[in-house]
């Protein structure tokens, strides 16, 4: 089986899952740059050590979610996966719109 056929599904799952992962703050790990420390999951460091960085953890969470979805999709017929291909860019544009909406407060 050609496992690269699930790449579009991985991408769809990644871009769709990334936005809620970011919005609800579900990182696999938190990095605290002042102490150079890592912690599993979400960590709100004490004020003296703040800020915590969650971006790395969000990328990994989305990667894990997309990996699981792609693994499940590998069991689907090829025709069905091919029908999902345009969803790749539709999902990306939609999620970009949601991101802009979430970030609007920085620009007003």
């Amino acid at each position: 089986m050609n496992w690269t056929r699930v790449f579009p599904v991985f991408s769809i799952a990644y871009v769709i899952s990334y936005v809620p992962i970011m919005f609800y703050n579900w990182p696999v790990f938190t990095y605290v740059p002042k102490t150079k420390a890592f912690a599993w999951g979400f960590l709100q460091p004490p004020a003296a050590q703040a800020p915590g960085m969650y971006y790395f953890g969000w990328l990994l969470t989305a990667g894990i979610v997309a990996g699981v979805v792609a693994a499940v999709a590998a069991t689907l017929p090829e025709k069905l996966i091919e029908r999902l291909v345009p969803v790749t860019w539709i999902a990306a544009l939609a999620m970009l719109g949601v991101e802009l909406f979430i970030l609007r407060e920085w620009f007003v």
């Binding site: 690269t4 056929r5 790449f7 579009p8 991985f10 991408s11 769809i12 990644y14 871009v15 990334y18 970011m22 990095y31 740059p33 002042k34 800020p51 960085m53 971006y55 790395f56 969000w58 990328l59 989305a62 997309a66 291909v85 345009p86 790749t88 860019w89 990306a92 544009l93 999620m95 970009l96 991101e99 802009l100 970030l103 407060e105 920085w106 620009f107």
Partner: protein
């Protein structure tokens, strides 16, 4: 060390922006022969030949960006917040999320440029364009923020 990493990040992003711009223009407005003026020659490239290089450049550039990101988070960003440069901080937030969306699109982008996927021309064009926009936006915001003291006084 951070300066070396920042400059390397910048140089790789220049290579990435060149490659993705050639490829995106070639995909959106293709020409068969590299004849005529600059614009015709610029877009008369074999886009498929750029794919692996662009995937690697995107990934390595992002990794370097991630390595220097903590320095920005506890340094430049704190200063920008103190000076109430909200839009500048927000611009970087958007760069961060656009880069993540671009990263997520890379597997589909690679797949869409494989010779067997000729049926998905529109998807290939649009995904390539989205990645090009992410790269251009990241490049411009990165440079703006690096130079923000000189630009805003």
């Amino acid at each position: 060390m951070n300066v070396v990493l920042l400059l390397t990040h910048m140089l790789l992003s220049v290579a990435l922006i060149g490659g993705i711009t050639h490829q995106a223009l070639g995909a959106l407005a293709p020409v068969r022969k590299a004849t005529g003026g600059f614009f015709n020659r610029f877009r008369a490239v074999n886009g498929a030949a750029y794919v692996n290089a662009i995937v690697i450049l995107y990934f390595v550039t992002l990794i370097l960006g991630l390595i220097i990101y903590p320095n920005y988070r506890i340094g430049a960003r704190v200063a920008m917040e103190q000076f109430r440069l909200k839009a500048s901080v927000g611009s970087f937030e958007l760069k961060e999320h656009l880069s993540a969306i671009g990263l997520g699109l890379l597997p589909a982008y690679w797949w869409l440029w494989q010779p067997a996927q000729k049926a998905f021309t529109n998807s290939r064009r649009i995904v390539t364009l989205i990645i090009a926009i992410a790269v251009w936006y990241g490049f411009m915001v990165g440079h703006y923020l690096v130079n923000i003291r000189g630009i805003t006084g």
